[in-house]
C-alpha cells in the first residue's frame, strides 16, 4: 500500500486553517484521518502563563496530567506524599489525581526539594495546572 503524503500534508494545513482537532478524508477504499491534540483548560491561557512564569522563576513545576480531584495523601487524614522542604526523587509519587473513580499517581519529573504545594487537598484541578514546584 502506498500513502499519498500530499493528502496528509493538505489535510494538516486544513486542520490549522480552520482550527480543527480532527479531519477525515475518504476516496474509494482509502480513508485518511489526521488529528492533533489541543490542551483545553478552563483557565484563560494568559492567566496560566502568568502564574507559571512567577513560579517557574524560582524552580520547576510538576503539572497535572489529567483533569480531576487532587489528593495530597493516600487517605483522608493520612500522611502527605510530600511536604514543603522535603527532598524528593524523580518518579516518586507527589500527589494522586482522582478522575472517574480511578486514582492516578503523579510522579515527580526530577530530583529536587519541594518549595511549594500549589493546590489544596480535594481541590479540582485542570489539565496542565501546576501542582507543586521544586527547586
Amino acid at each position: 500500500m502506498k500513502i499519498d503524503k500530499k493528502i496528509i500534508d493538505e489535510l494538516t494545513k486544513y486542520l490549522k486553517e480552520f482550527g480543527l482537532t480532527e479531519i477525515e478524508y475518504g476516496d474509494g477504499n482509502t480513508k485518511v484521518k489526521v488529528s492533533r491534540s489541543i490542551n483545553v483548560s478552563s483557565v484563560a491561557p494568559s492567566e496560566v502563563k502568568k502564574k507559571q512564569e512567577i513560579i517557574e522563576s524560582n524552580g520547576t513545576n510538576i503539572t497535572s496530567p489529567i483533569v480531576g480531584t487532587a489528593y495530597l495523601a493516600a487517605e483522608p487524614g493520612g500522611k502527605k506524599f510530600v511536604d514543603v522542604g522535603q527532598k524528593i526523587k524523580k518518579g516518586q509519587t507527589v500527589m494522586i489525581i482522582e478522575a472517574m473513580k480511578t486514582m492516578n499517581h503523579v510522579p515527580s519529573t526530577q530530583d529536587g526539594t519541594v518549595s511549594k504545594i500549589l493546590v489544596k487537598d480535594g481541590e479540582p484541578v485542570e489539565f496542565g495546572q501546576p501542582l507543586i514546584s521544586i527547586k
Binding site: I66, V67, G68, T69, E75, M100, K101, T102, P124
Partner: protein, 445 residues
C-alpha cells in the same frame, strides 16, 4: 400509586428512572451536585434540587441533604438507582423511618446480603451451590492453612464486608498465606471497619453469569440469565442474554434454584444473583439488591419494564406478573460506552461532547444521559451510555450492534465505541470462546 418519586442518583440510571416515572404519570424529582446543574436527569425531571458540591460525599452520598430534599419537595418514595446509596442499608432504614417508601428490599435483607459471609451461608442453606471454602470468618493463619490445603491452591481471601476488589488477595502457595491474610485483614479493617475475611477456592478463568429476578415476597419470577464475561478489572463491558455457553438443562437448574432461593427470602423488588460458571458448573457469588446497569438486556429479551415493575411492586406490595407471562425472544447484547481511552490503558477521558449523534433503528436502544454540548466531568463514573441491540439470534444481534456502533458519533471525548467494534469482530467473541480474564490477555491496540 406514589404522588412523587425522588430519584437519588445521576447519569443514565437517573434518566432511566425518570422516564419510567413519566410513563406512570408520577412527578419525578432530580437531585444533583453543583457541577451537574445542566445534566440530562435535571433537565428531564419535573423538579430538581441542588444538594451539594461535586464531591460524592457532599451530594449523592449525603444522606442528610437527600432527606432534606425529600422533605422540601414532598416526595413519598425514593428510588436509589445503582451505586451511591443503593445498597446502603442505613439509608434504606432512615428513608423508611421517615415514612417514605424506599424502592427496593427491606434494610434487613440488604444488610444480610451485603455481608458476604452471611449471604453465602444463606445461599447454601437455600439450596444454591457455593464455592468451596471456609464456613465463616477465618481468624488464624493455622485455620487458613488447614482450609486452603483442604480445598487446594490457588485460593482467594475476601473481605466479608468487601466490594470493588478491596481486601481481596489471591494466594498461589502456602508460603504466601501468612502475609496475604494479614494484608487482607488490614485492608478490610481500613476500608470497611470490619476485619472479617473468608477463604474460597480461586477459579482461574471462569465466566460470569447472573440471574435477574423480580419478587413481591409471595411471587418470585426470573427474567432469564445474563452472561457478563467480557470484563476489565471486574468491570463489565459487554453483557448478553441468553448465555451462549449454558446447556439447556444447566440453565433450567440455575433459574429454578435462583427463584427458589429468592422466594424464601421475603424479598421485595428487583434483584440479581451472580454466579461463577466453570466447566459446566455454577456457584453462587453474591446478590445485588438493586437495579443493575445491564438490566435492559433482560427487559428487551423478556418484554418487561423492570424499573416500572420496581415502582409498582413498591407501591402496591404485589406484582401482577406470573412466570408464564414472560416469553423470551431472540438474543440481546449490551455494550457499555465509557468515557475512557482504551488505547491508553483506559485512561479517563472527561471533556465536553461537542458533536453527538446516537444510533437508532429497528431493535436498537440507547440508554444514556448525553447530548450535544454536555460536559462529562471527572468526578463520577465513566459510563456515559449503553447501546443495546436485539437480534433473532446472536449473529444478528452482533451485526446490528456493529451497524449501530458505526452510526454512533461522539466527538470531544474518547470512548469505548472503537474498542467495542474490535471486540465484536474478534473471532473469540464471535465463537463465545472467552472468560472474565480474556480482555486482559488480548491486545486490541
Amino acid at each position: 400509586m406514589f404522588k412523587k418519586i425522588l430519584v437519588a442518583n445521576r447519569g443514565e440510571i437517573a434518566v432511566r428512572i425518570i422516564r419510567a416515572c413519566k410513563e406512570l404519570n408520577i412527578p419525578a424529582v432530580a437531585i444533583h451536585s453543583d457541577v451537574d446543574a445542566n445534566a440530562m436527569h435535571v433537565r428531564l425531571a419535573d423538579e430538581s434540587i441542588c444538594i451539594g458540591s461535586h464531591k460524592p460525599q457532599n451530594s449523592y452520598l449525603n444522606i442528610a441533604a437527600i432527606m432534606s430534599a425529600v422533605d422540601v419537595t414532598g416526595a413519598d418514595a425514593v428510588h436509589p438507582g445503582y451505586g451511591f446509596l443503593s445498597e446502603n442499608s442505613h439509608f434504606a432504614e432512615i428513608v423508611t423511618k421517615n415514612k417514605i417508601k424506599f424502592i427496593g428490599p427491606s434494610a434487613e435483607i440488604m444488610k444480610k446480603m451485603g455481608d458476604k459471609i452471611e449471604a453465602k451461608k444463606t445461599a447454601k442453606k437455600l439450596g444454591l451451590p457455593v464455592i468451596e471454602g471456609s464456613e465463616g470468618n477465618v481468624k488464624s493463619v493455622d485455620e487458613a492453612k488447614k482450609i486452603s490445603s483442604n480445598i487446594g491452591y490457588p485460593v482467594l481471601i475476601k473481605a466479608a464486608a468487601g466490594g470493588g476488589g478491596k481486601g481481596m488477595k489471591l494466594v498461589r502457595k502456602e508460603e504466601e498465606l501468612n502475609d496475604s491474610l494479614i494484608l487482607a485483614k488490614q485492608e478490610a479493617k481500613k476500608y470497611f471497619s470490619d476485619d472479617s475475611v473468608y477463604i474460597e477456592k480461586y477459579f482461574e478463568n471462569p465466566r460470569h453469569i447472573e440471574v435477574q429476578i423480580l419478587s413481591d415476597k409471595k411471587t418470585t419470577i426470573h427474567l432469564g440469565e445474563r452472561d457478563c464475561s467480557v470484563q476489565r478489572k471486574h468491570q463489565k463491558l459487554i453483557e448478553e442474554s441468553p448465555s451462549p455457553v449454558l446447556e439447556e438443562k444447566v440453565r433450567q437448574d440455575l433459574l429454578n434454584k435462583t427463584v427458589n432461593m429468592i422466594s424464601k427470602l421475603d424479598y421485595e423488588g428487583a434483584g440479581t444473583v451472580e454466579y461463577i460458571y466453570d466447566k459446566g458448573k455454577f456457584f453462587f457469588l453474591e446478590m445485588n439488591t438493586r437495579i443493575q446497569v445491564e438490566h435492559p438486556v433482560s427487559e428487551i429479551r423478556g418484554g418487561i419494564d423492570i424499573v416500572k415493575e420496581q415502582i409498582k411492586i413498591a407501591s402496591k406490595g404485589k406484582t401482577s406478573l406470573k412466570q408464564s407471562d414472560i416469553t423470551f425472544r431472540g438474543h440481546v447484547i449490551e455494550c457499555r460506552i465509557n468515557a475512557e481511552d482504551p488505547s491508553k490503558n483506559f485512561q479517563p477521558s472527561p471533556g465536553t461532547i461537542n458533536v453527538c449523534h446516537q444510533p437508532s433503528g429497528f431493535r436498537t436502544r440507547v440508554d444514556g444521559a448525553i447530548f450535544q454540548g454536555c460536559r462529562i466531568t471527572p468526578y463520577y463514573d465513566s459510563l456515559i451510555c449503553k447501546l443495546i441491540c436485539q437480534g433473532r439470534d446472536r449473529e444478528e444481534a452482533i451485526q446490528r450492534l456493529q451497524r449501530s456502533l458505526n452510526e454512533f458519533v461522539i466527538e470531544g471525548i474518547t470512548t469505548t465505541i472503537d474498542l467495542h467494534k474490535k471486540i465484536l469482530s474478534h473471532k473469540k467473541f464471535i465463537n463465545s470462546d472467552f472468560d472474565v480474564n480474556w480482555l486482559a490477555r488480548e491486545s486490541f491496540y
